[in-house]
């Protein structure tokens, strides 16, 4: 039996592209989520964080409750990763959350965040307000598409 194949329009292709991007984003989110948010061996907690990419810059925010501002460190690792660490003003144990089946104490936040587009790491701007660290990285536009 002959089947007629409909020609794909640019909109179909764009829909497929965005669907595949969404699937990729979901799989990345799940891979971040499906592991503990703490590390007993390193005595660290992984903070919540978020990345926003705008036309000019990438804004990374990190939620750091109890963080001692003077201990916050932001380090670029290579061209596309930022490492954040901070000491907490007080030690936190599983017992503080009512959990008795794990043992461990935490006094430091630590996380590494990959930046999805090229940026100027050396032009990084950092501020800490309301317990939230904000890192702004200007975007590096390596090529431009000429408009005819």
């Amino acid at each position: 039996m002959a089947t007629s194949r409909r020609k794909r329009s640019i909109f179909d292709i764009m829909d497929e592209y965005f669907e595949s991007m969404e699937e990729w984003a979901e799989s990345v989110m799940e891979s971040i989520i499906e592991r503990p948010s703490w590390n007993c061996r390193a005595c660290t907690m992984e903070p919540l964080r978020n990345i926003v990419v705008t036309g000019d810059e990438v804004i990374v925010t990190v939620d750091l409750p109890y963080a001692e501002q003077s201990t916050i460190q932001v380090k670029p690792i290579g061209k596309d990763t930022v490492e954040v660490s901070a000491q907490m003003r007080r030690k936190v144990s599983f017992g503080d959350f009512g959990i008795t089946h794990y043992k461990g104490e935490f006094q430091r936040f630590h996380c590494q965040t990959r930046i999805p587009v090229p940026v100027y790491m050396d032009k990084m701007e950092v501020r800490f307000k309301k317990g939230i660290l904000e890192i702004r990285l200007p975007r590096k536009h390596e090529y431009e598409i000429p408009i005819e």
Binding site: A25, E26, I33, P47, D63, P65, Y66, K129
Partner: protein, 248 residues
């Protein structure tokens, strides 16, 4: 009534109470507010949601199993709270079951407490609380209480379905939305929402403890926030930022 989702009562349920909803959403505003109300007003568990549609998760408290979706209450309030984010496909059946149950208990009004994300949240000193209602009469009541109305826009999540279903059934309902962070627990926003909730139901609660414990709450709520964010992405929550095309 949806036969797949049941509300199982553990205690006698008062008639004519306010029914409040605190479900995981942006900033965990509803859950943080609900948790504070439970401890401040010494609310006890009066009912819970049982369903095979729910994920196989129980919550252990003092070694005993509890449903992740429970109703706490006293003679004035019935407070439905979830300790897990609702999956997109469960929003309708769970909310409909809870509202049908509330209707059966002749609740005075349904009020969901939630948040509305704002991009400049970090720089905001004074947070606003917006409201939407299920009928023009309820909306007028909200305006008489000096609450700002969310006039146009999209609403995504359990509070949206609560409002829509109550409007359909002719039940008075309000959704309170405090400006908040999208993906960070926001106790300050929860405190603001609680202030307005108390303004509507005419009760008093001390929100100072909630603000004092803000950092502790933010630390404790990290995992729930991460799971909630995952569900919000699937639910296309960012549509709340969209500018609607008003079709009259």
């Amino acid at each position: 009534m949806n036969p797949d989702v049941r509300v199982i009562e553990k205690k006698e349920i008062p008639k004519g109470a306010f029914m409040i909803f605190g479900f995981p959403d942006v900033g965990l505003v509803g859950v943080i507010a609900a948790s504070h109300l439970i401890s401040e007003l010494n609310l006890t568990e009066v009912a819970y949601v049982g369903s095979r549609l729910l994920p196989p998760i129980i919550v252990l408290h003092e070694g005993l199993p509890h449903s992740a979706i429970r109703i706490f209450g006293n003679h004035q309030i019935l407070l439905a709270v979830s300790e897990i984010p609702l999956r997109e496909d469960l929003v309708y059946p769970v909310m409909h079951a809870l509202i049908d149950w509330g209707k059966e208990k002749e609740v005075k009004m349904m009020i969901s407490v939630s948040g509305i994300p704002i991009q400049e949240r970090q720089d905001l000193e004074e947070l606003k609380v917006f409201a939407a209602a299920s009928s023009p009469e309820t909306l007028k009541m909200v305006q008489d209480k000096n609450l700002e109305v969310l006039k146009e826009g999209y609403m995504v999540g359990p509070q949206a379905i609560m409002l829509q279903y109550c409007a359909m059934l002719g039940l008075p309902a309000i959704t309170l939305l405090a400006q908040c962070f999208f993906n960070y627990p926001d106790p300050e926003a929860a405190a603001k929402a609680l202030e307005q909730l108390m303004n509507i139901i005419g009760l008093k609660t001390d929100i100072s403890k909630l603000l004092e414990k803000g950092e502790e709450i933010r630390l404790k709520a990290r995992d729930m926030m991460k799971r909630t964010q995952q569900e919000l992405t699937k639910m296309k929550k960012t549509q709340e930022y969209d500018i609607p095309l008003y079709v009259s």
